[in-house]
């Protein structure tokens, strides 16, 4: 599956997702500026991304922890998600995300 990620300078990166890995891990390992301080424990909100509207609807709903943790993210929008909570799978092939500002 492919992830199309836009960085903070507006540059697009096409990344190869790995089944079962989180989108945060793929972005981080590709060197995108995702801090992911808590390493994916849904405890820091530094893996904040905007998911393209079209894809946002296809994702599983946020857990209560994710919703709560998003309160600690900056510049939250309706399509905000924590990328450590999005798990790669073929159903998400082509998903577009944008790294949120810091």
């Amino acid at each position: 599956m492919k992830i199309i990620a836009t960085d903070r300078d507006g540059k697009e990166h096409i990344l190869e997702g790995r089944d079962g890995w989180t989108v945060m891990e793929i972005l981080r390992d590709a060197g995108l500026p995702i801090t992911a301080e808590c390493g994916g424990a849904c405890a820091c909100a530094t893996c904040h991304v905007y998911v393209d509207e079209e894809w946002a609807a296809k994702l599983p709903d946020k857990s209560d922890t994710e919703t709560d943790m998003l309160d600690m993210a900056l510049a939250v929008e309706a399509n905000s998600r924590l990328s450590c909570q999005i798990i790669c799978s073929d159903a998400l092939d082509g998903i577009r995300v944008t790294v949120a500002p810091e």
């Binding site: 801090t35 301080e37 808590c38 424990a41 405890a43 820091c44 909100a45 530094t46 919703t67 709560d68 943790m69 998003l70 309160d71 600690m72 993210a73 900056l74 510049a75 939250v76 929008e77 309706a78 500002p101 810091e102």
Partner: protein
């Protein structure tokens, strides 16, 4: 001016690795002072995951971040380390006699032959909202913490955030503010329910204004805030009057002043040798998440090992004329005396 403190080892960072360093250094009779910007020891373990279980600490099949911290504190207690908490280690310089002087933003000065940087990913600092020009308003009209409530009397206050800090300060400051507006990106909060209820009552009584919105722009001159542009859920922008802005979005990790200490850095990490865990500057050691070497794993257990080896090398710097004796805590009555068990 406070008089400088003289000790054997100054440790930057009271995370798990800084705490274990106290123990390893203590066994060798070396006294320690620790500096941490957080108001309690434990670093990432207590700040990011106090309730979460850790499964890979040797000999402890499961322990939470808070429990591990409590146990490390108990273990280092016989050596009575001194903690300088809520202070940023902000300066490091070499004295003529070869020792180091570590200074903090609170004016504490620690003089020691050895400095151990156990600073993790850096210091925990408040998250800064991505609003253009916000730096220029900081500490004049924009504050990330409330130190003196009186400072906010009769001001038009804007608070942003949805956690306990945002709610608590909304409740505490509303009675003394001229006006108080709370903004959050949703009509839900990750704060204690009774605080949320009290806030809603104040909104009903007209004592607090609440908007589902985010802060887009700050306006004013010379750091004096006058108006703020907000964008509502419908993305429509509007302005409100405010001369104090308190954003509460929790903490994040930034390398901070260590970058200015003149140490050799590689991608914000301190390269060390794997014999002593010393940086390329003599007398400055780096252990735990802050260091880098071939094969480094950012794990607590690796940091513990690094602390033990660092302590051996630190001993030779602090006590150049003494010979180090290798002993087990199990069988050495000398070590047991130090631990207060013999």
């Amino acid at each position: 001016m406070t008089t400088p403190i003289e000790t054997d080892v100054a440790i930057i960072g009271a995370g798990p690795i800084g705490l274990f360093a106290v123990f390893e250094l203590g066994l060798l009779d070396l006294k320690t002072h620790l500096v941490d910007i957080l108001d309690r020891p434990g670093g990432q373990c207590t700040e990011l995951y106090p309730e979460k279980p850790i499964y890979d600490i040797p000999g402890l099949p499961v322990v939470t971040g808070q429990e591990l911290t409590d146990r490390l504190l108990e273990q280092s207690k016989p050596f009575s380390p001194t903690f300088h908490l809520s202070q940023m280690a902000s300066g490091l310089s070499r004295l003529d006699d070869g020792r180091w002087k570590l200074t903090t933003d609170a004016g504490t000065e620690i003089i020691a032959p050895v400095v151990v940087v156990a600073a993790g990913g850096g210091s925990f600092v408040p998250k800064r909202p991505p609003v253009p020009g916000i730096e220029g308003f900081e500490n004049i009209s924009v504050f990330y913490a409330v130190r003196k409530m009186e400072q906010f009397r009769d001001r038009d206050i804007l608070i942003a955030g949805g956690g306990d800090s945002a709610l608590d300060w909304t409740l505490n400051l509303a009675p003394i503010a001229k006006s108080l507006t709370l903004v959050h990106h949703r009509d839900g909060f990750r704060a204690a329910q009774h605080s949320v209820n009290q806030m809603r009552e104040l909104v009903e009584q007209g004592k607090v204004k609440f908007h589902i919105a985010s802060v887009k722009g700050l306006h004013g001159d010379n750091g004096q805030l006058q108006r703020v542009t907000l964008a509502g859920a419908d993305k429509k922008e509007f302005q409100i009057e405010a001369n104090a802005f308190l954003p509460f979005f929790g903490l994040t990790i930034k390398l901070g002043p260590i970058a200015e200490f003149g140490l050799n850095l590689h991608e914000n990490l301190i390269p060390v040798d794997t014999e002593k865990f010393e940086s390329t500057t003599k007398g400055i050691f780096a252990i735990g998440d802050i260091n880098t070497y071939a094969g480094k794993l950012k794990l607590i257990l690796s940091g513990f090992h690094e602390a033990a080896l660092m302590a051996q090398a630190a001993f030779h710097i602090c006590r150049p004329n003494e010979k180090l004796r290798f002993q087990y805590t199990t069988s050495s009555s000398n070590l047991q005396k130090k631990l207060g068990v013999a």
